[in-house]
Symmetry: C2
């Protein structure tokens, strides 16, 4: 009368592999082999197992699998918790690539790209059992933090390609900046001003260097660099500052949001873009095409970036130790803010 426990599979809880095995009348290993498609199993047996899986609604428990294999098939991403267009897009690009490869993504956000926060975030992810970590915090502090992380975590950064210790993938900010500056020079300006991003950000540096290289190659006088913090407000303030100088007629701004602030400052002062001043941004945020006027800017391919950086992490996880660096190309998108006058 009394039923043994083996008669009550999946009593309330999720069915386990052993429930499937019991239902199909095979051993656990056979089920495991069917699920994972390795080892050889007779077609008829496979059928029986799959039927049982179907009927019980079995789903493998990835914690158990991870524990047994030592591979969790999960990666961690450290991201800034701001909704900056670049970093947020990069995160989704990575998730995309990870998904295709059957990996899950755990995120740990940090409120600022500061050393202790980043180290702590990486530790958090580690203790969640991720196989590797991607850090999207393109800041020199982040770069230094990466060196303080135990070497046993496969780690890849979305950062400047000159980052020393870890493999990196990055958009080619320098080239983007060069294209932007070249474009402005090609329109006949004597020189090009620059509103840079904040100190310490690798993207600021790379974009600034790209701009400076072109100015120098052209033998043009190098105007003082103005500096914002990526926000529209700071672009606006830089714009007010620019208005105090004469002969500013071409400005390359390190991101679109600051460019928006600049456009605002210029328009308030009755300065017309592109008639009096030409402006180029960076990022091609969705709004950029609808600024007043629509903004010439540099577009980045985040899907491709995600794929690159994920691919690097995978190599790293598989033990490769070569120091790789991927560079994702950019594209200049010309709009009215650098139009004909």
């Amino acid at each position: 009368m009394a039923k043994g426990p083996e008669n009550a599979p999946a009593a309330g809880r999720q069915p386990a592999l052993s429930d499937v095995a019991a239902a199909a009348g095979v051993s656990n290993m056979t089920v495991s082999r069917v699920i994972n498609g390795n080892g050889s199993v007779r077609a008829a047996t496979r059928r029986r197992v799959l039927d049982a899986v179907e009927q019980l609604g079995y789903r493998p428990n990835s914690l158990a699998r991870g524990l047994a294999t030592g591979r969790s098939r999960t990666l961690g991403a450290v991201a800034l918790d701001s909704v900056l267009y670049g970093p947020a897009s990069t995160l989704f690009g990575i998730e995309n690539a990870a998904r295709e490869a059957g990996y899950g993504v755990s995120v740990a956000s940090v409120s600022a790209p500061e050393h202790p926060l980043i180290v702590e975030a990486i530790e958090r992810l580690r203790s969640q059992g991720v196989e590797g970590v991607i850090v999207i915090a393109p800041h020199v502090a982040a770069g230094r933090a990466l060196e303080d992380v135990p070497q046993d975590v496969p780690l890849v950064a979305v950062a400047d390609v000159d980052q020393p210790s870890v493999p990196v993938a990055a958009v080619d900010h320098r080239d983007g900046a060069r294209q932007a500056a070249e474009h402005l020079f090609s329109l006949g300006h004597d020189t090009v001003w620059h509103i840079a991003g904040p100190h310490g950000w690798l993207e600021s540096q790379a974009r600034e260097e790209g701009w400076r290289a072109v100015v120098s190659e052209r033998g043009a006088p190098e105007p003082p660099v103005l500096r914002g913090d990526w926000s529209p407000r700071s672009g606006y303030e830089a714009g007010r500052e620019l208005l105090r100088h004469d002969q500013v007629d071409a400005v390359f701004v390190a991101n679109d949001q600051m460019a928006l602030g600049l456009l605002r400052a210029l328009s308030e002062a009755g300065v017309s873009v592109p008639h009096d001043v030409r402006v180029v941004g960076f990022d091609d945020i969705p709004e950029a095409a609808y600024f007043s006027p629509p903004l010439t800017t540099v577009r980045q391919d985040f899907i491709s970036l995600g794929r690159q950086v994920f691919g690097q992490l995978l190599h790293r996880i598989e033990g490769e130790r070569t120091r790789m660096r991927s560079i994702v190309p950019v594209e200049l998108v010309v709009r009215e803010s650098t139009g004909t006058r």
Copy 2:
């Protein structure tokens, strides 16, 4: 001469709890008790264990713990892979709240809020062993998808509060829309036009309803609703359409990006904001304060939203079955786009 395996702790791999136990000369359970702070352990013993932990650099393996306890301390978030400001901010708000409670967050992105994609994303997260899932896909298709998910996954949605089957938390879109419309009426306009979000989005609906309620309460004539897809482009097109009507002098736009497109269309047509037309948006994206002119809009508190929705999920995970709904208040931010003429 030959050393037994017990003499070689942490041989290459991460130290495990048993390595700590061996080093401290206690049993595994004692270490477990010290780590988790439950059960009673003599102060001296605790000290020894903690020293061993420190010395070996031990970190608990959350996969193993999750397997043993049946609780992974991880939640899943389903998010759209676009960088729409609201959804992306909500994701970070959730991560914030989860972190405070010691939870990790796994993300699964979907390219569109469509039924099969969402169900698949939830399944993916489930098989990653999450304890519960938060769906940030405020779309009716998403809502329906939630009903097709097995009831054994604790599930909370960031969606409209009228969502039937699952608990939800949401920003009070309806009230935000009401405030926006009331604000425009209070400036003396006869009626208020509306550029709505796309069909099927709960936020579109709620914002549209809020607007319609005010128009109706005021006994004003109800203009036809224009509809965009959240993008600046669609706002621009709606703007072109509006320009064909006379007597449009107040417009409530369902999000800031479309409002930007509208501003662009108006400015191209030589229509001045706020002199000829007043405009209110929704979201308060960081750019909004720097539009031309700066945009009056409705601000949402995503940190608070994240906290609410995470709290609900936690209740749900703990077995509570009450159908809760949280509403997060909004705030109207008045700027020049509804300024005096």
